[in-house]
Symmetry: none
Subunit: 143 residues, 4 copies
Amino acid sequence: MPITLDQAQTIVRAALQHGTEQGFQPLTVAVLDPGGALVALGRQDGSGYLRPDLATAKAWGLLGMGMNSRALAARAEASPDIYTSLVGLAGGKVVSVPGGVLVRDGEGQLLGAVGISGDASLNDEAAAVAGIEAAGLVAETGA
Amino acid sequence: MPITLDQAQTIVRAALQHGTEQGFQPLTVAVLDPGGALVALGRQDGSGYLRPDLATAKAWGLLGMGMNSRALAARAEASPDIYTSLVGLAGGKVVSVPGGVLVRDGEGQLLGAVGISGDASLNDEAAAVAGIEAAGLVAETGA
Amino acid sequence: MPITLDQAQTIVRAALQHGTEQGFQPLTVAVLDPGGALVALGRQDGSGYLRPDLATAKAWGLLGMGMNSRALAARAEASPDIYTSLVGLAGGKVVSVPGGVLVRDGEGQLLGAVGISGDASLNDEAAAVAGIEAAGLVAETGA
Amino acid sequence: MPITLDQAQTIVRAALQHGTEQGFQPLTVAVLDPGGALVALGRQDGSGYLRPDLATAKAWGLLGMGMNSRALAARAEASPDIYTSLVGLAGGKVVSVPGGVLVRDGEGQLLGAVGISGDASLNDEAAAVAGIEAAGLVAETGA
């Protein structure tokens, strides 16, 4: 069962609120279903025009590889060549730095993924986790 | 002045509510700033995975040409060759059927555009107009 | 000998001035060398963001095929299939409607091409011819 | 408020004059609005045909990320993986070396960006700064 629009909109709202409360740079939040398609996106005023693509890519690559962010980063570090190929295959829609987070329900079923871009990578990730938890769902970063 | 995230989220919410009330097929709504970048997007449960790209394209082509939907359709009808070239140049991100609507403020300044895909084109357009008006802004379809 | 930057800047300036004097919609002017690379470009305030690509394409396709605008249009009309293939091969950078004009010196040598987009095609073309003649060069439209 | 064509043409002219006076290699100057679309471009005689794309990319990536040149370079150095992904996402339209400069008005509002390519990166940047200041605007390099 994919993530619903209601859940995705809650994630966008809560993640952006987290960023604002923490004084982060303007963020862009993308929520994708398990097939890699956008369900909801929100870009705060002042967040650059590449941010929607970058936020989407952070989520898209994880879903496409079936890996959480730390597992993808470990693979990229162990084998830079495969990372370069992945980025090429995906037209750039693979990103190994933190800020992409898998979303699961209470039984561990994969519902989709969230990608955030705008501040330092670990701050992006923290906002994604805050958003996912506000929707009553489970965030998997691998950290 | 580009459209704000608050305005864009109001448009998404109200456009989708219009679709639900009218019994439309599940819709996807994209709101773009005047430079053609996404500000907000919402895809209703059951709306297909090409809909985000299609909704975005409906808005993107109008902004890129500086034309409303009916003016672009008239140009496409008068000159199929230029329409073919435009679609190629834009990587498909130009659509001449209704469902893309320019957004202006009370003084006529361009703030962005809304694209909707999911039901019949005129229904998509009606939902976009409803969303834009719910945000207190002016919808330009050219119809 | 390719067109010089001085000549190209004169063309941009004079073509835009022609458009302003005639009350045309805001125009974008692109001047390309015989190899198809930009030498100068100017986009008037309010001309949409797809116009630079479209103006460039109008000139690029003519140079790439070694044909003036009317010859390309005749080919496109006689064989829509080859036009579709051309547009695909060129990523859209071929346009058969008026607004692309070859630039020659007094001895007929090809120096480059001008493409204009923004108003009706024949107005775009008239502005290009005015610009080329202001630079003391010869415009070839095929009309 | 985006940069105007008048301001952009002043920047192109003054930046190229700076390069000529300093004995730089032939330069290409691109001026983009905040949405990443070209407003004006000038390529000096002898500047290679990839220079327009490179000059445009230097400005485009900064605007897309909402970062100045030094901030982007620091991010690229800290995380080569994200830089690789960015370049892929952007189809190459991201460049981290100097030569891309943000343009602001006196109150700090972002009007666009200038990218220059042709000589050593710091010389490219110096020409961009000279052009921006000749237009009475504020250059932000982050250096």
